[in-house]
């Protein structure tokens, strides 16, 4: 019965791949709605399935297809997979509703159909990755996911910068696959099996090698610093509903891979695994939020926050490894619980934020927040939904983001239990950075919400913006409701799932907060003299949008504090009329923030690859005789190697 349900859900997810056929109809709107409904129903079925597995703890084995003898695509849903399937299903459901309105904004019908088809394949591939039983199925679905998302990033390929983003993304995603294949190779060499089960490594070296490959492979895909550069390019380039899927779900699939390897494939690791994860996570979290602060492109700002939140999740995994290695299993479980809960929460509020920013983009035709403003009056529904997302991501009680970050903070508090003083010191430093990250994230969303939705419009487009259609409000509303529910009822939900984490009952806290807010609002309305003026105009009568606090102005003090990280670079070029450089002709001066990782990591690597390519090209550009000689030499080498191997 349950298995039939699962097959039905997968079939329904595959069905919209036929959407391009709608091009043969005169008006495919009804067809598109039907296909999106199929995705929605599939998502609901998957939610039910995941909830069942999560609650009962049963394992579900679903044979799918045999690629070759011994290389079967078989699905296995256990509690971990079910948790991630739940995340995918919930977000996909909301995105399907949102897309019903969003897709119709696209100009060509062919594009509309194609977007739905690719979207369904993308969601299906993510479900397949998460429920793959063996590495072959995992890598197959992983590649399917990469290709589907590559096509989606390139969806608006005629726009400036999109193709670059697409290629950048493709290169990075393939690099991640290379590392995953290497990890698979190590595991296969040790066990002779592709199954994702506990591997008995012949020596700790092989276990650590497999861990490193997995960390690099999943780290690139998750956007951990310094492998993050593709993320702020690719996520904003895709259509907004896809950005929500990519930022909300796809990078979580990488987190799933990492958790799967740490929990069920690799043996309990040495403490340095945890240190590596914690350090990478901390650096990602703080740099992500600092980069987000200076960003004025709304979708790119959100993309940088994805790096920050992935950093927080990886920090939790690092803590899990460190405490596990120290034998402190209760604290380790708290850290893991925090990391996984934050994964769910981030999927919810980040998708919510991307979807609502998509509505803003549709209404204002710009992503530059300096050209927005005053949208809360014009798009009240979208503004309220965005606010819920912003408050959740800023980890304010009683929303869900608060609970997961609190759990991680509580795990950090247990640092004193560790024996090594160095480890304690590391945890205290990471803890402080984490606290700073949370504060900066809140500051960043004050900027984002304040500049986009409050004040007066700063452009004609913002002035004429209209509220999004109903479906584009209903989709995000589902996510917003879940953000609130998961926050308020977190204590009860953990109890149902069978965990007793030391989190406060936020239902009580929430009610108290509500009472305080109500009292404050009442007091402000009825006590003392009131003067109404516009936000950001500092109490003065309105002087129009030019007198407003801008996004640059808001973030300037913070950017000044982190000057050392942004590294502004000044380039001046001058031309003179004479050789003595006395008579100035013309000149240009440019001040920009240094792209540290690009200039010091990516570009050198790219140059090295180009050099290697030039060498290979020299080998290639020869006459026929030399080609035959190459064949001769390679065949002979093969024979010599075979001689020593056999």
């Amino acid at each position: 019965m349950i298995a039939t349900l699962a097959y039905l859900a997968l079939g329904l997810l595959l069905l919209p791949a036929l959407a391009p056929l709608l091009a043969f109809l005169k008006d495919g709107r009804a067809g598109r709605k039907a296909f999106l409904t199929a995705i929605g129903i599939a998502a609901l079925l998957l939610t039910a399935l995941a909830a069942y597995v999560l609650y009962t703890g049963t394992q579900l084995l679903l044979p799918l297809y045999d690629l070759a003898p011994g290389l079967g695509l078989t699905l296995l849903v256990d509690r971990l997979s079910a948790f991630f399937i739940l995340i995918i299903a919930v977000v996909a459901f909301a995105v399907a509703i949102y897309s019903a309105g969003y897709v119709e904004h696209l100009k060509s019908p062919v594009r509309k159909n194609l977007l739905i088809a690719l979207m369904s394949i993308f969601v299906l591939s993510m479900v397949l990755v998460i429920s793959a039983k063996g590495m072959v199925g995992f890598l197959f679905s992983w590649e399917l996911m990469s290709l589907a998302s590559f096509l989606l990033v390139n969806f608006e390929y005629e726009k400036k910068g999109t193709r670059k983003a697409g290629l950048y993304y493709l290169a990075m995603t393939q690099l991640s696959t290379v590392f995953l294949i290497a990890a698979t190779g190590v595991i296969y060499a040790q066990t002779g099996s592709f199954d994702l089960q506990r591997v008995a490594f012949s020596s700790p070296f092989w276990a650590s090698l497999a861990f490193l490959f997995a960390f690099l492979g999943f780290g690139i895909k998750a956007g951990i610093v310094p492998f993050h550069k593709w993320l702020p390019y690719a996520h904003p380039a895709a259509p907004s509903n896809i950005s929500a899927l990519m930022s909300g779900l796809m990078i979580k699939v990488a987190i799933y891979g990492l958790v799967r390897f740490l929990l069920t494939v690799l043996p309990p690791g040495p403490v340095w695994w945890g240190i590596l994860l914690l350090t990478a996570g901390t650096v990602s979290a703080i740099l992500g939020v600092i980069y987000a602060l200076k960003e004025h492109d709304l979708k790119r700002l959100l993309a940088y926050h994805s790096i920050e939140n992935i950093g927080i999740i990886v920090m939790g995994l690092g803590l899990f490894e460190i405490f596990s290695a120290a034998g402190l299993h209760a604290v380790a479980l708290l850290a893991l619980g925090g990391a996984l809960f934050h994964t769910l929460n981030h999927a919810l509020f980040k998708s919510l934020l991307f979807l609502t920013s998509g509505s803003v983009l549709n209404a204002t035709k710009t992503m530059n927040i300096e050209r927005m403003g005053g949208l809360s009056a014009r798009m009240p529904g979208t503004a309220a939904l965005f606010l819920i997302g912003a408050v959740s991501i800023s980890a304010l009680p009683p929303f869900n983001g608060f609970v997961s970050e609190l759990m991680l903070f509580e795990a950090f508090f247990q640092a004193y239990l560790l024996a090594s003083p160095y480890l304690q010191m590391l945890l205290v430093i990471a803890f402080s950075v984490f606290a700073l990250t949370s504060a900066l994230a809140a500051a960043c969303f004050v900027k984002a919400y304040g500049v986009v939705f409050l004040g007066v419009p700063r452009s004609k487009e913002a002035k004429e913006a209209k509220e999004a259609p109903r479906s584009m409000l209903a989709g995000p509303a589902v996510l917003a409701a879940l953000c609130i529910v998961l926050g308020l009822f977190s204590f009860q939900l953990f109890a149902i799932a069978g965990f007793s984490f030391p989190v406060p009952d936020l239902l009580v806290v929430g009610l108290l907060l509500l009472a305080v807010y109500a009292l404050t609002a009442f007091a402000l309305r009825n006590v003392g003299k009131r003067r109404t003026c516009e936000t950001w105009s500092c109490g003065y009568p309105s002087a129009g949008s030019v007198a407003e606090y801008t996004a640059s102005g808001f973030s300037e003090p913070i950017i000044r504090i982190f000057d050392a990280i942004f590294l502004p670079k000044l380039t001046v070029e001058r031309e003179y009329h004479d050789g003595q450089k006395a008579l100035f002709k013309r000149g240009t001066a440019e001040m920009r923030l240094m792209r540290f990782f690009e200039e010091y990591l990516y570009d050198p690597v790219a140059r090295a690859v180009e050099k290697a390519a030039a060498f290979v090209a020299r080998l290639q550009d020869v006459d026929l005789d030399l080609y035959v000689a190459y064949i001769f030499v390679s065949a002979l080498l093969l024979i010599i190697v075979a001689r020593f191997l056999i």
Binding site: D625, A629, L636, I639
Partner: protein, 227 residues
């Protein structure tokens, strides 16, 4: 009929002679000798098939012998001779990458490694002649490769390819399915014949690279003709 033990000894002698012929092809410069050596090598393979027939009694072996005799001993050498006459060249003067002495030394090295590998793998299997045959056949393929990349003239390259093909034929006589082999054999010979006929028709009188530039009509229009 011949005694099987004698036939086996005969086969071994024939195998050595075949490799010897390939070694001679690597070192000789004059085209007439090269063609004759190729014909002789093919004839040795014909004899080998007949010898094998004495042991196996498989009529397909006789068919293979007949096809080889007709195509490789008579027709192809005949056409090769015709081409040479038309080209008015008698000796190969230039070599690429390696001189004939270097080439034969390389062949010896290759032979050593191939024999070391296959005698190790196959010595446990059957009557002992198999490992020798496999090594020699693969060695013949390698020698054909050496001929191709050390010679500049297209006609010698063709002989290199033909030597490789003889290696494959030798290998398959002992290892592969015979009925399939006949089909492959006819196909390969047809390809060779087409190449040779093309040589005659277009008059490739030097290397393939130079012939390419002749084919490039655009270059001629633009006045960038290389020849």
């Amino acid at each position: 009929m011949i005694d099987p033990v004698f036939a086996l000894d005969l086969i071994k002698i024939l195998l050595v002679l075949i490799v010897l012929s390939a070694a001679l092809i690597i070192t000789r410069r004059d085209f007439i000798a090269l063609t004759s050596l190729y014909a002789a090598q093919s004839f040795l393979i014909v004899l080998l098939s007949v010898g094998l027939f004495a042991i196996d009694r498989n009529p397909l072996l006789l068919i293979i012998a007949a096809i080889t005799l007709l195509s490789k001993v008579v027709i192809i050498p005949f056409i090769l001779t015709k081409v040479q006459r038309r080209l008015k060249m008698k000796r190969e003067i230039e070599f690429s990458h390696l001189s004939p002495i270097g080439a034969i030394l390389l062949a010896v090295v290759a032979f050593f490694f191939i024999y070391a590998l296959f005698s190790g793998i196959l010595s446990g299997l059957d009557k002992g002649v198999l490992s020798t045959v496999v090594s020699l056949a693969i060695c013949l393929v390698f020698m054909g490769l050496i001929i191709i990349f050390t010679r500049k003239q297209t006609i010698t390259n063709v002989i290199g390819y033909l030597t490789m093909e003889n290696g494959v034929l030798l290998f398959s006589l002992f290892v592969a399915e015979l009925s399939l082999l006949i089909e492959v054999l006819i196909l390969l010979d047809l390809i060779m014949l087409i190449v040779l006929v093309a040589l005659m028709a277009f008059g490739i009188d030097s290397s393939i690279e130079e012939f390419h530039s002749q084919l490039n009509v655009l270059d001629r229009w633009l006045g960038r003709e290389q020849r």
